[in-house]
Every structure is written in C-alpha cells, then in structure tokens.
C-alpha cells in the first residue's frame, strides 16, 4: 500500500505554484496551487470601522469563502471561521486599531488539501497587501494510513479513502541575524503550531507523527514561499517592460 495513485512517495508534495498581484483592483492578491487544487485569495484593506461585536481596539478580519460550485453552506462557514482565526493570530492587530481587512477566497480547483491551499494563498495575499504580520503561516495536510505510516499533501481520493487526516498550519522559518547558538535554549519559532484541524479518529501517537512529518515538510514550503516573494520583486522589472 505504499503506492499513491499519482506515483508520489509518502513524503513528496505536489508541485507548488504561487503568483501575486494578479488582481488589479484588490489591494493584495495571490493565487496558490498545489497540483490541481488552486485557490485565489484577494485582500481589501485596512478599511475604517469595525463590525458590531468586534473589539475596536484591534484590527478585525473578515473572511468570505466562495466555493467553486454550489451554494454557500455550513462547510464554507467552517472554513471561514478557521481561516479567520488563523489569520488573526499571524497578523499584528494592534498596529491599525478599529479597521477591518477583508479576505476573499475563491476556489478555482479542488483536488484535496483545500483548506491548507487556501491558508497559504491568504497568507501570500496579505503579504502582497502590506498588512503588518508577525511571521508567515505555512500549511500542509497529513494523512494517517492503516498501518501507521504518514502521507503528505493528500489528493481528494486519498482524503476519501483514509480513516483519519489532519490539516496543520506552522509558522515559517525566519532568517535571523541572531546566533542560533544563543537561542538554542528556547524552541525555534518553526516548532510552534498555529492551527490544527483533524478529521476522523487517530491514536495520539499517530497525531504526533503527523505533526513531526508536517513540520519537516513545512520547511520546504516555507523556503518556496520565501523564494517566490524574493523573485517577485526582481521579476517586476522585466514584467512591465512592454
């Protein structure tokens, strides 16, 4: 049972793609693709005023999830809530109090790992809009097979067959001028976890295995995100020379 339908091995991720500043009117936008799962995120804001029930001493976030087809239902509301809480914890909410930032997520293709793809896209869109953030968020899906092995970056068919899987969100690994020797007393920041959503029943040891594998893979995604942010600024020079 080691073969996955698309020929990847257990730890291999699908090809990642990220492009930013693709929407003209949005203040920040990004398109993130993992294989056939593609999500487009747009950020508007910060705009003045908060909604009723939100704390006016902090910036508030509003997430709208648009599915590819069908009406908006409970699943979309759940995704909106998870995305909102995740984004609130990575952004600095005290910099612009009493403002609202809207994030609109549009699903373009769904082949499994939809929520992680949306979180990665929203994070890239927030960076594009210049919203102040503490660090970036990197998200990955991990599935637990019957014999206890972990596979990463699930497709839709794998999600349907597996007994249990989890979506995990980790902080990215920062570049630092601080010596790693001094700070080895504390845990490095990428060992934290921001969000975890699990489906199905899995033993505790299985869940911790998922966390470890996911953390290791998140370093690769974090590196990809950093490279795409760096490349964008030098690519702009050649892009607009028409």
């Amino acid at each position: 049972m080691e073969d996955r339908t698309d020929g990847r091995n257990a730890n291999q991720l699908r090809p990642l793609g990220c492009s930013r500043t693709i929407l003209n009117r949005a203040h920040g936008s990004a398109r993130w693709s993992q294989g056939n799962t593609i999500v487009l995120a747009a950020v508007y804001g910060p705009k003045a005023g908060t909604k009723k029930g939100e704390n006016p001493e902090k910036a508030s976030f509003e997430v709208i999830w648009k599915p590819k087809t069908g009406q908006i239902g409970k699943q979309e509301r759940e995704y909106e809530m998870i995305l909102k809480r995740t984004l609130q914890s990575i952004c600095l909410v005290n910099v612009h109090p009493n403002t609202t930032t809207s994030v609109i997520v549009q699903v373009v293709g769904d082949d499994g790992s939809l929520l992680p793809c949306a979180i990665n896209a929203s994070c890239a869109a927030l960076v594009d809009a210049g919203i102040p953030m503490k660090h970036l968020a990197v998200s990955i899906s991990c599935g637990l097979m019957e014999e206890g092995s972990i596979i990463l970056d699930l497709t839709k068919s794998e999600e349907e067959k597996l007994k249990a899987f989890a979506y995990l969100v980790f902080p990215n690994s920062p570049l630092s001028v601080i010596d790693k020797v001094h700070s080895s007393k504390e845990e490095p920041i990428e060992h934290g976890i921001i969000t975890s959503v699990s489906y199905g029943a899995m033993p505790v040891s299985g869940y911790f295995d998922c966390l470890e594998r996911g953390r290791a893979a998140s370093a690769a995604i974090s590196e990809f995100l950093r490279r795409s942010l760096q490349k964008q600024s030098s690519e702009d020079a050649s892009r607009a020379a028409q």
């Binding site: 953030m133 503490k134 970036l136 570049l175 001028v177 010596d179 942010l229 600024s233 020079a237």
Partner: protein
C-alpha cells in the same frame, strides 16, 4: 551561517528581500547606540523584526527601514498627499487619502483662513495637502499650508486628470535627481504634475492629448530602469508627432 558567532555582522540582511518574521537586528549586541526604525520594522523585546515584506535598507549611520510598494498608504508626518473630499463637517473636511482611516482637514488650515472665508469644497474635490498629525491610532490630520503658514501650492487642484498608482511609483517620481521619465517628457511637452506619496498623481496640460500621453508614460514607467524610461517616453512622443 550559524557557525562562528564572532563574525556575524549585524547588517548582513541590508539590501536583501526580507519577509515578515525575519529578525534583522539584535539589540543586545548594540549597546549605547541610537537606531531609527522606519516603516515595516518593529521592536520585539530585544530584537528588531520585520512586519512587511520588502527590501531592507540602511541609511547611515543608523536609520533602517523596509522598502515596499503597496496600493494603500500608511500616513507619515510631513508627507505630501493628494486627498479627495468625502464630507464637510462643521470644523473639518473629511478627506480620503487611501489610508486605513479618513483624514481630517481643518477648515481653518489654509493661508489667511478665518471663519468668514471657509473654502467651499464639495464632495469629490481633489486637494493637495501635507500630513501634520499621524499616529497609528487616531485619524490623520492634514493642512493646506506649509510650516510657516503660507499656501505654497497646497489647496484644491482644478482641471487636469488624477490617476492612482502604487506608493513605490510615487516615491520614484519624487526622487531627486529628477525621475528620467518626467525629464524626457518635460523636454518636449509642457505640463504640470502633482504627486502624492499616498499613490495618487495629478497631471494637467494644455491639450487632452498631452495629458493622456503624460499619464500613460508615467503609469508605464514603474518597473523600468532610467534608460528604458527615456526610450519609452521618446517612442510615445514620436507617435504623437506623427499622428
């Protein structure tokens, strides 16, 4: 990279692209120094870390900031901006400057302004003003006079055409020496322009053709180098002479 602690310089991230979360300065290593932090950086206990993605810049001796280009504007003191009047209250105009909050322009903040000669700005009037109060929490405040109280080109901009750009392009247009595209256009066409650091540009010329040509040239010059801008401007001017 994390082998020899003694050789780690504090500024090895300067002029590199940094992303939110990167730590750029360790304050425990720098004692008795004053550091000035510009936009995009924040102090987190003993470290200075990055809030916005962009290029880290250092202006000797001690000013650090992150250079990035956005569609929205964060108000800073003494910036000149182009605002659009949204509402007229009894003692301020509410002006939109593409910032997280609306800005206030007191009705008396004009040269020789008294209660008797309050200017009549309707909704939609374009104003060139200067930011006089900007902290993150309150609404920013503008003024249409310079520091000594004179009008100095501030006030309503009549006629012409206004378009929106990113803050990076606005900074480039205002850089000195004169931006190459403005210089190349100014050699052949006579026009006047006002650039707001909040990403708005106003252009006025004698004929609509000239206004369109100047606006298009400016919008296209965002990511071009100096020579490319001159070549692009010259090509556009040639086309106008021909037709």
């Amino acid at each position: 990279m994390d082998v020899d602690t003694g050789n780690m310089t504090q500024t090895n991230l300067v002029d590199k692209v940094v992303v939110p979360g990167d730590v750029v300065l360790d304050l425990t290593k720098m004692e008795n120094q004053t550091i000035k932090l510009g936009s995009g950086l924040r102090q987190d206990c003993d470290y200075i870390s990055v809030m916005q993605a962009g290029k880290l810049r250092l202006s000797k001796p001690n000013k650090y900031w992150v250079e990035s280009s956005q569609k929205r504007y964060v108000p800073r003191l003494e910036d000149t901006v182009l605002g659009i009047v949204v509402e007229h209250r009894s003692d301020n105009f509410l002006v939109d400057i593409k910032a997280p909050n609306l800005a206030f322009l007191p009705v008396l903040a004009f040269e020789g302004g008294t209660r008797r000669n309050i200017p009549k700005f309707e909704t939609g009037t374009l104003i060139y003003a200067r930011v006089v109060k900007a902290n993150g929490i309150m609404n920013p405040e503008l003024s249409c006079t310079d520091a000594s109280g004179k009008a100095a080109e501030f006030g309503q901009l009549k006629n012409g055409y206004m378009f929106e750009t990113s803050t990076g392009l606005a900074r480039m247009l205002l850089s000195s020496p004169t931006c190459p595209v403005l210089e190349a256009l100014g050699n052949k066409i006579s026009f006047e322009t006002a650039v707001g650091l909040n990403g708005r540009v106003w252009v006025n010329a004698s004929s609509p053709d000239d206004v369109i040509l100047v606006s298009n040239a400016i919008m296209r010059s965002e990511f071009l180098s100096g020579t490319q801008q001159r070549i692009m401007a010259e090509k556009l001017l040639e086309r106008l002479q021909k037709s």
